[in-house]
Structures are given as structure tokens and as C-alpha cells.
Symmetry: D2
Subunit: 453 residues, 4 copies
Amino acid sequence: MASNIKMDNNPAFDRIPPWVKSKLRPIAIEKIQQVYDWVENECIPAERIYKAQLEGNRWKTPAIIHELRQKAKAQGLFNLFLPNHFEESPGLTNLEYSCCAEIMGRVYWAAQTMNCHAPETGNMELLAKYCTPEQKKRWLHPLMNGDMSSAYSMTEPDVASSDATQIGIKMEITDKEVIINGRKLYGNCQYNEEMQLFVLMGCSDPNNPDRFRRHTTLVVPAKTKGLKQVRNLTIMGYDWAPEGHGEYIYEDVRVPVENIILGPGRAFEIAQGRLGPGRIHHCMRLVGQAERAYELALVRCFEPNKKPRGKFIGEFDSNIERIAEMRMTIDSMRLVVLNAADTMDLHGNKAGRYAIAQSKIMVPNALMKVIDEAMQIYGGQGLTQHTPLPELWTYARFVRVADGPDSAHRHQVGRDQMKTAQAFRERAAGYTKRYKELCKKWNLEPEEFWGIV
Amino acid sequence: MASNIKMDNNPAFDRIPPWVKSKLRPIAIEKIQQVYDWVENECIPAERIYKAQLEGNRWKTPAIIHELRQKAKAQGLFNLFLPNHFEESPGLTNLEYSCCAEIMGRVYWAAQTMNCHAPETGNMELLAKYCTPEQKKRWLHPLMNGDMSSAYSMTEPDVASSDATQIGIKMEITDKEVIINGRKLYGNCQYNEEMQLFVLMGCSDPNNPDRFRRHTTLVVPAKTKGLKQVRNLTIMGYDWAPEGHGEYIYEDVRVPVENIILGPGRAFEIAQGRLGPGRIHHCMRLVGQAERAYELALVRCFEPNKKPRGKFIGEFDSNIERIAEMRMTIDSMRLVVLNAADTMDLHGNKAGRYAIAQSKIMVPNALMKVIDEAMQIYGGQGLTQHTPLPELWTYARFVRVADGPDSAHRHQVGRDQMKTAQAFRERAAGYTKRYKELCKKWNLEPEEFWGIV
Amino acid sequence: MASNIKMDNNPAFDRIPPWVKSKLRPIAIEKIQQVYDWVENECIPAERIYKAQLEGNRWKTPAIIHELRQKAKAQGLFNLFLPNHFEESPGLTNLEYSCCAEIMGRVYWAAQTMNCHAPETGNMELLAKYCTPEQKKRWLHPLMNGDMSSAYSMTEPDVASSDATQIGIKMEITDKEVIINGRKLYGNCQYNEEMQLFVLMGCSDPNNPDRFRRHTTLVVPAKTKGLKQVRNLTIMGYDWAPEGHGEYIYEDVRVPVENIILGPGRAFEIAQGRLGPGRIHHCMRLVGQAERAYELALVRCFEPNKKPRGKFIGEFDSNIERIAEMRMTIDSMRLVVLNAADTMDLHGNKAGRYAIAQSKIMVPNALMKVIDEAMQIYGGQGLTQHTPLPELWTYARFVRVADGPDSAHRHQVGRDQMKTAQAFRERAAGYTKRYKELCKKWNLEPEEFWGIV
Amino acid sequence: MASNIKMDNNPAFDRIPPWVKSKLRPIAIEKIQQVYDWVENECIPAERIYKAQLEGNRWKTPAIIHELRQKAKAQGLFNLFLPNHFEESPGLTNLEYSCCAEIMGRVYWAAQTMNCHAPETGNMELLAKYCTPEQKKRWLHPLMNGDMSSAYSMTEPDVASSDATQIGIKMEITDKEVIINGRKLYGNCQYNEEMQLFVLMGCSDPNNPDRFRRHTTLVVPAKTKGLKQVRNLTIMGYDWAPEGHGEYIYEDVRVPVENIILGPGRAFEIAQGRLGPGRIHHCMRLVGQAERAYELALVRCFEPNKKPRGKFIGEFDSNIERIAEMRMTIDSMRLVVLNAADTMDLHGNKAGRYAIAQSKIMVPNALMKVIDEAMQIYGGQGLTQHTPLPELWTYARFVRVADGPDSAHRHQVGRDQMKTAQAFRERAAGYTKRYKELCKKWNLEPEEFWGIV
């Protein structure tokens, strides 16, 4: 059944490229419209309410978030991110979800009202994929229901975290329990009461000759004895409250073996499975963040009070060109993200590996610059709490390291590409052979270019 | 009927994004494979043959081109560019043709062997769109048949050509004939015998109050008396033989009124109609040019003779990152071009205006840098005739001004965007209103941020 | 008398270019060494002490600052910024001070320990230049003595502040007093007890036909009735405590006419005089900030715990190239700043106008990227409070708008340059004339290139 | 004795930074003025004469060059590049010569009229430094006298030339002669009669355990039997006539042992000595090339025929900002070059190594973009022979690989920098120690940041 919603001249759909529009099913069209209305009516106008409620009470989730989450759930806006091949999924493809996620990105906590925020999304996908029914009941269902929140704990201070095989936190597995000792950076903040579990990757079998079989992933309840948050990590000065980024010590932390996911030594299997759409959810949202910054810049361009030398900011043709540049950058990055989502839909997460990496590297870099430009158009006020621009920028900056520095991803892409060189060398040799035949035919002396295949 | 060609692990299709692959019809799959094989087997190996035949005889089309054109026509590879809504079209959509054009781009004269080169493509589209059957017979059919070549003549030395209303060459229209006086820059070179007609835009009614009704487009046969080529214009030092870029004087050049296209004063109508897919054919091909440069870079990366400090060039991780950057840049630009083509297919040329401009601005800039990087990977030899890189680069550089400098296009995009600001200002006012309501509900004092909507 | 200090292989002097070293007088060599030792021994190791003392008491200047200021004053390290043509100056040239300021930049509050921080420096220079002896006694001497701190108040929320003639805060001047009404953004934070006076620019004569005679500058004591701080403005999320950036309302604020500087209507004269070395002090310090970031990056490059794929970060040749790029960028920006300082020394502030603008535009942009790169080399930790990098970056970002967005400065430079075009057009005409003479001599036909002078 | 020339408001001196002006001795002031007048009056107006004389006779030095060289020599403008520590020097420091060289750069062959062009300059410096009096008489004196020209032959097709120890051309040294076999790329073109000798580096002792003692440098007269030019190498399509870049085969080429410079196996000693000012002569000239492009852009900005949408190109504030950007880029690059020249003057070539590398990497990259921007301001004509811009650009592009790709230089700089890391790590450890002392004093618990020194 077709949707009654018209996509033409509808701001909820205006930025979606034609090829994507033509693939949206009625259910998706409905959801996109709903998400758009939600963000437009419930989130953007509430931005300062959220901030006011956090004031002086930074580690408590603001009341407005609780209310909005209840409403969003009631409206069927929860967990849209979970791809439609999971039984728990509300039914969208990755491509369709991308269109929703972009809109969510316009307010940095909007995804949270729809239970589509990191690290929950990654955790829920992981739990949906690898947990036993019993485990799902304990952890996945409350998370999907929005009854608690969770953290993902991987980075460590003492190793090169972009190389996961170096993860060193010790997990001693006995018959009944796992005893954990070590340190972790990041993972949401324990100060917040709603944060109830950690998905933790650690080293349980350091001497296993196969270095991809040394690690185990398990769930640690937040209140477990011996687990201590040392401090909250600020990101570019932001405390990121009320979620935060904790720094933790594990001292003889004990959890039952039932908390192990998939089995001991299988953490890399799980990590592999985690390399899916969750890795570009932030890219999808970043497109929306950049759109928000762009809209704010346009608003400022025609602010009647702000007319240097008597012209609107938007009448200077240097700014006209800047706006064009911002517009085009956002649109090209959207194409990159949507292509990655679509590739996963059509060929699976593994086939999407390159497209995912492309998104992760290109999108935050490019869109960070768009937001930076929007701040410059604002002048001094663009950097203050008068606009959401500083937070939008900081989030974009954060994701450039969140999953390893972009150089690590670029390196991986480059190494994969280098493996394709041999085929081109063979083709090049073939060209030369054929060239020599053609020389005979056309009665020419073959030219030799030294040092060139 | 499905094509027998498998797209998986097939280099002719490897770079095509999944969403595009899924839209290709069997006829397109066949053509893409054919074009790929053609360029791979007939064009790349013949690059130096082409050059050798031009040596010492620069204004004569090389014999190999004549032969290849005959063969390509026989194989049904002619005129693929003409979109399938024209009766003369071989049947591809713009999106499908894009995939062909990219492959053509790998050798800069390959499009010519398939009669898909500029300015013929633009001229043929114009003639197909606006000519009478009689005119088509005289000009369109020989061009489509590859029996002659043509030029497009618009730029002038004495005006700001990015503003077409300034075009000043005089056309006096009498009962029987049009008398033309003035100067033109560009338009292919008369020195080449095969160049037989100019499509010329001039000013026939300078006092018409509507400045978009002052100009007329007509056909001038190349040998007409009074039409004189002053010199060939080099582009970054290249003579661009055997087509060239002429600089012309018109002195009392007379052509019959039958040569007027569409009617006197209708040049802007025609120009408008010309703003279609032809404007991004070069972008489509540029993607292929960049791929070629990329392949050459990969080939060099594992050249056994070239191991500075004992490592292959491709083993330096600075180069690994560079290759990744090149790969991602090309792929993102391809998405931009394909999206523009698809937009025209789905919604028409006019709706595609922005996407076309986006391609025209972003693609040459980005891909020029990719080719430049490939030259650096080659070192000194990368700039010599030992590789096709200098020509690939120069063509990319050329298109940055070919249709007006990119700043002119950027300006146009930016001005269109500025028109959307008002809607965002209204939405912003709505947010504030709703914010105040929410303040009441949550018992908060509304915060005022001065100078902010 | 020559200094006993050796500049060779001395880290205090290693980065100073030879031409600058050769201009340093013994007094400067002594001061540079002193400043270096001061920052190295007293400031860098105290960074976290400073932070700890601010914790929970953000609007009170930390005790360590008070102690350090006393010690620095005792060591003759106070007010080094004031150029040696002022009688109050400790005797350095701008060039010599630049070398000191760079070192101060390594810790963002180090300048404060030496009473060389903004906005004091600008205020003190202004007061030294334009105050009567009586006024100096009340305001300049306590400031120079470090007994209080001050603010500069210019930006307004309701006008385009990059155009100072739009400044609108009302000043009604009566016989005895000035009554002030309006709003201001920025200007340090009143919450801090030590901040005791505002240097305020306002509009006292709005109908004066000469729009550069409408404004007056005067001093407002911080505790004056009617002057109210609305909020502290955060910059990229930082509260910038304990100085802050206040947002203010003036409601019938009254100050005696004796507080007027130079006289009513002379604010632009003063503003003009303020366009001196104070405008690039932040650029001088930014060079040092970038050096600090660079040093931290090098430290990380050889961190034994951080070896992705078994190599030190500093062994990856992508990072080797990055470090080189950072090194060269910093060094080139230092040359730009030092040249501006030297130009002021040799030819005065007015002659230095272009060089000052060049610094203001280029330096923050370039060095912000250096610091950003240093953060990427750190990975996730580079964005947290574990390093000073986020603060270093944020300060660099801030100065890109602090004195107007960089596009405003660029615009000014560009307009000045455009005025030089006519001279080049005349020279170009001369070349053509001489070319024609040479053609005769060499028996050649002059070539005409249309549209070209 | 002071010069009578006023530097103020004198276009010959306007771009020279104050610190440099203050170091110019009267002799330098005179020379700079002379060079300026020479280029302004004799070279720029003759640009098209030069081209016209080359037409159809590309491997013969144009008559106008011969005439200008005679005049320049007569005026004392020959060999200015040779630094004043050589007895043959006309007496300028490197810094002073830089000012001259910049002016020469405004016309790409102007240096040649003053015998200051590559590769002569490098060759003359080498010969002046390492030759016996007898050798000087045979080669250096005629070169300095302008009686012949020479080539430098180092690059080879079959090795990674950025690593000179790989140079492989064979030199068999007997009692009387050296027998040479192998291939070389580059080295000026033998087709030009005036090119009379090659300075050639080859491998004479491949088994020497010290790989820096395997190579020998010697002089090969251009007409020696067995030496054959295979082709001329084009650079970005330019034949670079009448000097060219040859590609050579050596087949049993024999030269007397008297032609060996310094002695067998000492080529690296010589190469080391060549790493002086000659390596940045092109950077000095590039500054002038960019100035020329800049002047041309300004001329175009106020071309009355070119007013898109009714405004001069120079009235668009996007172009105003572009001109500012170009201006600042050129000026900052000049500072980099002048600092390198001054460093060599003050501390010698070896101490200047980093500053030389900094110039070589930064200057061509930055100025290439300036010239590119100038071409865009011109639009289509900017790429044709109507302006010298394409040649200016191509030269800038060429130098990015001429002495090895810039990544090779960057790598060298980065590796040197990495060696400094250890000192910073030690200082960082010292900061921590002192921090702990301060904690005691201030009664604070030392904070530990894991993974951070």
C-alpha cells in the first residue's frame, strides 16, 4: 500500500537523492515523515530546555528526555536502527534508516529520544546477533525497551588501541566466574544511574598461539564490586553529560561465566560482526548535523541586525560562494553514506567494508569543515552557547578518533588497494604486447620508454 | 531478456556502485562490457600509435582514428550519449551512458572513436532537439554518421563570456541571409579538413528590450568566405591537435537564413535546452581519467626497479594513505556524477540543474588533484610523455574553465541557495515560539540570546 | 655589554631564525632566557595545579597564579610587552618581545603570570598612550603593577561588530557625568573580583555627520550601579574561567566625565592607535602553542606502550611526513609574525598594518591545523583533559573570530591590494608599447591577443 | 659608500621585507635596481619576440637571447648568483642575490640573459668549488663568460633516483680514460649546439663496501662519440625548447681521466657540496613568477571589457578575498626563501639544510596554487598562449619533482625531526617530577593520566 505522504516539496524529503527516494517503501516514507516532525516539533525547540534541566545536576538524565522517550516509543519511533533482517527490528533497511538518522542528527540528543544512540545501537546489534535467548531477555530486551542504558568498553590507556589484538585487561576464567583486572578508557559514565551494564572486551587467554583467539567479550553490570570510575573524560572540554566518557579501574571484578557472550576466546568473532551499519550511524547523523549548521548559517545570512558595510552577510559574494561550497560538500557526503548503507543492504556488511571505511574517513572530516565555516559566518557568537554550533562541531571532531584515528582507517583502505596492483601490472604488460602488434600493423617502430611497463 | 554478462568480479563493472548496477538494463550491461573491451583492447594499446601518426602532421586526424571509428560504428558503439528519449538515440539512459563514458575517459580520444566527444555531443543534442527535419538531414545525420565534425562557437575575447547576454558578434538578418561580423575564441580548429560547420551564437537584435531575446543561433559552414582562423589556441601549452581550439575573425560572413536554428532571437531558448547531460559528459569521463591515473600509480607502486631505500614505493605507508585518499576521492566523485545523471533521467534536465552544477564544480577540482598525486608518485617521469598523466591532468584542468570558471558556477549555486534562507528563518521563528511554550510547561524562564532568532 | 648567555644549542633560542638572533640585544637575550626558564620550571609543571585549584571555585583566580605573579614581578618579568618607546616600558622591541611571547604561549596562562595577557596588554597600551597623568595613576599604574585586572568592551549583539561604526550602546554626556544604556558581548567576567574596570566604546553623538566622530571611549568601574552581567559566554564549551567572557546589560550606568579618555567623540582615534602590536600578541603566543603541541606529538611518537602493528607511531612514514609538515608550518608562521613585529619596530604600527593583518589571518588558521594534527597523532586521548591539546586548539580557534572573522580581515587586505591594480595596468600598457618597438627592430609583425592589455 | 637609490616607493624594492632591506649593502641595492630595470625594460616586453624567434627553429637559441646576454654582461649583470665567498663572484650574498633572483623569475628566461639559470648555476658552483685551475680554465671560465652552456646528468630510468646511491651508469676507469655505458634521463638537450658539456655522475666502483665511495663525477663533452640523445622529454607537454630535457644512451663513451672532478669515487663529496644555495635558486625565482601571475591577475581584475553582471572582476568580494590570499601566500613564501638564504650566509650551507628543504617543499606547492588561482581569474584565456601563466605554472609544477618528489624531501625533514623526540621525552619526565613536588607544596594529590608521560 502506498503512503499518502507526498515527497515533493516536502522538507522531510527535499535532501534525499532521487535514486534513494525511488527505493523507499511506504513504511519508510511514513517513518521519515514521523521522525522529521518529531525532531522539528519536539527536539529542536527543546534544546535549551534540555540544557536548563542539566544545569547543576549534570549526571542525571533530564526529565524532558524521559518524557520524550516515552512519547517516541508510543509513536513507534523506537529502535529504528535495527536492520530488518533481525527479528526484533521495526523493519527499515539500512538505506531507509539512513534517511531517518540524518534527521535525528539535527539535534545531538534526538537519537536518544528514539533509542537510536551510540553506544546502545552497537550494543543492541551485538546482543541481538550473539546472545542466547536467556541473555537477550536480561540485557537486549530492557535496552530495546529503553529501561536502562549501557556502555561499550574497549579502549585502554596502556596499548595502541587502534590494534585490538593488544587489548590487555586481564580476564581469568574459572568454572563459575570471570575475574577481571585492568584499566579502560571511555565507556559511558557510571555516575549516571541509568547506565547499568558494560559490554567489555578483555584478554582471557594471552598465550593462545592464535592472537585472534585470546580475547573474550562479556557483560559487566555497572554496580559490580571492584569496578571504579576514576574520572570522567572531557572531550574538547565538554563533559558530555549526562552520559560522559568514563575512565575505569577493574580490581578483582567478578562476573558469572553466564555473562560471557558467544563463548571464551570469541571476542574477535564478535568484533567482526560488529563491523556493520553501526559503524556509520554517526556518519548518517553527521550529515544532519551539517545540515543544521547550514540552516543556521543561512538564517544568519539574512539577519537584519547584522549588515557589515550595509549589506546582508548573505549578499557578499564571498559568502555566496561559501554557502555553495557547504551545500555541495554536504550533498556529496550524503551520497557517500547512503551508498554505504545501500551496499550493506544489497550485499551484506562484509561487502560494505570499503564503503563503510570511506564514510568513516571522509564524512567527519568534510562535515567538520562545513560546521567550522558556519561558525565563521556567525562570527564570535558562533562559538558561544548562543548556537548549537560548537556542540555540533565537537561531535564531528570526536568521531574522527572515536573508532581509531582516521589515519588508521585510511591505512587499511590503502593496504587493501595495494593488493589490487598486481592485476593492473599484468594488464599493463598486456597493453605493451598489443602495442607492439599494432606497431607492426601500422608500420611503426615501437617506442621504448625506460622504466615504464 | 537478461544479459549473459556477469557483473561480479568483472573489471568492466567493479567500480559501479550497487545502486547503479541494480538499475542497469540488459542492453546497458551489454554496451558497458563492449565499451570496456573496446577501450581495453583497441584504445589503450594504441595510444602511442595515435601520437606517432600525428607527428609532423598535426592537423590531420590520424589514420587509426578513422579505422577505429569505422569499427566502432559497425559494432553499434556510436552515439551512445544521446539519451533514450530522442528518436535517434541508441537507447541508453543518462545513468547507463555515464558508466560507458567513464570507461571512455581512460583514453582521452576514446570517446571520439565512438562519436561521443565534445563538442559533437552537445551539437548533436542541440540539433536533434531544435532542428527541422530538413536541417537534421543536412547537419545532424552526417554528424551522427561520423562523416564530418563540428564546432561550437560562443566565447568572445571582448566580453565577460561567463555572462552570455554580453555576447556581441553582430548578426544582421536580411530577407535571405545573415551577415556576421566579429570575433570568437575557441571552437575547433578550421585547419582540420573534417571540421565542417560551426554552431554559432551571436547578437542579431541588440536593442530588444528583453535581453534574452537579442541573440540568434545558426550554422556556419567552415569554408564560408570571410571566416578566418587567426591562430590555434594552446591550452597549458598543448595544441590539442588535431582538433584544436581556434581563434576566429568573422568579416562579412554570409549564410542563408535557412541556417538559423529555431528562429531569430531564440538563442537563449536553445542555450537553455543545451543545459542538459552534455554538460557533465566531461565529468563522467574525468572519473575514468582519474581511474586511469590511479591504475598507473598502482603500477608504479610495485615497479621492481624503483625501490627507494630498498622498499617498493607502494610499501611506504605515506603512499598507502595517499592511494587510499585517491581511491576514496574518485569514488565519491563518481557518486556525484551518477547522481546527476540519474536525477536527469528521473526528473528531467531542469530538475537536474543543481546536481549538474555540483558535478561541474566538484569533479574536475577533486580529480585534478588525484591525477596530480599520481604524477608525484611517478616522480619526474610522471610529467613527461612517458605516461599519459600530463594529458589527463591538462584535460581536467581545462574543464575547470571550459564552461566558465568554477567560481561562476559556484556563485550560481550559492545564489539559488540564498533564496531558501527565508524559509529557514521562518522555521527558526517557529522554534522560538514553541520553546517559549515548553518553558511554561517545564517551569523555566525563557533564555534570550541577543542577536539570535 | 654582551650577554653571557650562549644562544647556540640552547633550547630557549633554537627556534629563533638567524636574522632575528642577530638583532637581539643583550637585554633581550637575558629576558628570553629568563622567560624560557620561567615557563619551563614554573608554568608547565604547574598546569594541573592550576586546574586543581580552579575546581569547584571557578571564578576565583587560583592561588598559584597570585604567587607566580609576585615572583615574576620580583624577577623583572612583568609587562615585557610594552614597546620600548613608552616611558613605562621595561625596554624590549616588538621583535624581542615576540621571542618572549612565543615561549609564554606554551602554557595558556603563562602570559598572565608575567602581566602580558589580553586584554590587559591592549588596555595598558591604550591607557599609556592616551591618558592624562591623573588617569594613568588611577588605572594604568595599578594594572601595570598587577593589582587589578580589566576588560575591553566593544562587541555588541545587535549590530555587525566587524564594522565598528555601527556600535550602538548609548552614552549621554552631561556636564558632570555620562549615562550609559545598552548591551555588550564579551569583556571579561564580572564574577571575578579582581576585574575592576571596563574600557568601553559607545555612541555619544549619533547624529554627527562624520561617522568617525560619533563614538567615545571611557572607563567604567566594574561595580558601577546598573551594570549587570547576564551570563558568561562559553567558547566552544569552555567557560574560560576564571576570566570568562561576559554578556552585559548597561541600564542607566553613570560615570563621571573624568573617566572619558582623550575626549568625547574621539573613540576612533583611540581605536586607530590600538591597532598596533597588541593585535598580534596572540599570534606570537600561538606559535608557542603550536610548538607545545608539536613537542607533545613527538613525545607520543615514541611512547613505548603505543606501538600499533609493532612500530612506534614515529616510525610510520606517514607520521614522519606529518611531523615534517607540522614543523615547516610552524616555522613559516613564525617568520610571518616576526616580520610583522620587526616592521612595526622599523617603520611604525601604521606601516605594519598589512603585515599585522597577514599574521592575524594566516597564523591562527595554519597553527590550528597543526594542533589538530597533534591531536590525531594522540588518538582519542588527544581530545581529553589528559593533554593540554584541546585548550591549545580552542584558543587558536577562538582568535579566528576574536577580532572579527578572518574573512573581514582578508577583505580589508584584498581591497587595499585592488587599489594597486591601476599601476600594474599602466605598466602593462608600457610593455605593449615597448613590444611594438622591439617588433620593428626584429622585423616581426606584432601579435595581437584580444582582450589582453 | 651609500647608494643613491631610494628604496621607498620604488617598485624594485617594494616587496622586500624591512629586515632584508636593512641588510642590503649599497652594491646590492644597485644590482637589484639594475636587475629590476633590465627585466622590466628588456625582458617582459620581449617575451613574444622570444617566442616568435623560436617558431619553426626550436633547438636554436633565439637571436634576442644572444643580444641580451651580451648587453647584460656588459652591464655587469652576469653570474650574480655566485656567492661572495668565491673569488670569481661578482660579490653578492645569498640574501642579496635572492632579491635579484625573484625579479628574474618574472620572465622564465630572464635568468638566462644574466647567466643565472639552471643548470649552469649549479654546474658553475660545482666547478668553482672542486676543479683544478686547469679544469676551471677549460669549463668554468667559458661558462661564466657565457660562451657555451652545460647540462647536469644524474637521473636514471632504471633506478629510484631519489636515492642517489642507486645511480647505476657504468664508468670503467683505466689509466688514460673512462669508458661509460648506460642511460640517463634529463640533462639539457644535445640538439642545441651551444650545449657543450655534461657534468655526469656514474658508478665507477660498484663493489666498494662504502656505498658513498662508489661513484665518480666527470665532464663529458657533448659531441663525444657513443653519446646519443634518444628523444627530448616533454614536461607537461612543453618541449622546453631550446634547452630541453634529453634522454640519453651512453655506449662506450670515452673521456680522458683528466675530466674526472676531484678524483674517482668522490661523487658524493661533490654532491654534498652541491647542496647549497643552488638548490633554492628556483624557489627564489618562483616567488617572482608568482608575483608576475599576481600582477596579471590584478590587471585582469580591472579590464573594462570583462565585467560579468556589470561589475569589474576585481569588485566581486570573492575575488577580493582571493587576491588577499594570493598576496599573503606569496609574501609568506618569500620569507621562507629569504630566511634560507640568510641562514646560509650566516651559518653556511650545511646549517641551512633544513631551511633549504623547507623552501624546496613549501614554496613550489604554495606558489603553484597562486598561479593556478590567477589562471582562474583569467578564465579560459588564462590557459592559452595569450598570457605567460601556463608556462609560469608548468615551471612551478616541474620543480616539485625536479630534485626528487617533495615527499622525499618531506621524509628527510621528518626523520631529522624524529631524532629530536628523545630530548622532549626527557623534558616531559622532568615536568612530571616537578609537578609532584608542586603537589606536595600545594597539598594536592598528584593526578595520574595513564599512558601519558
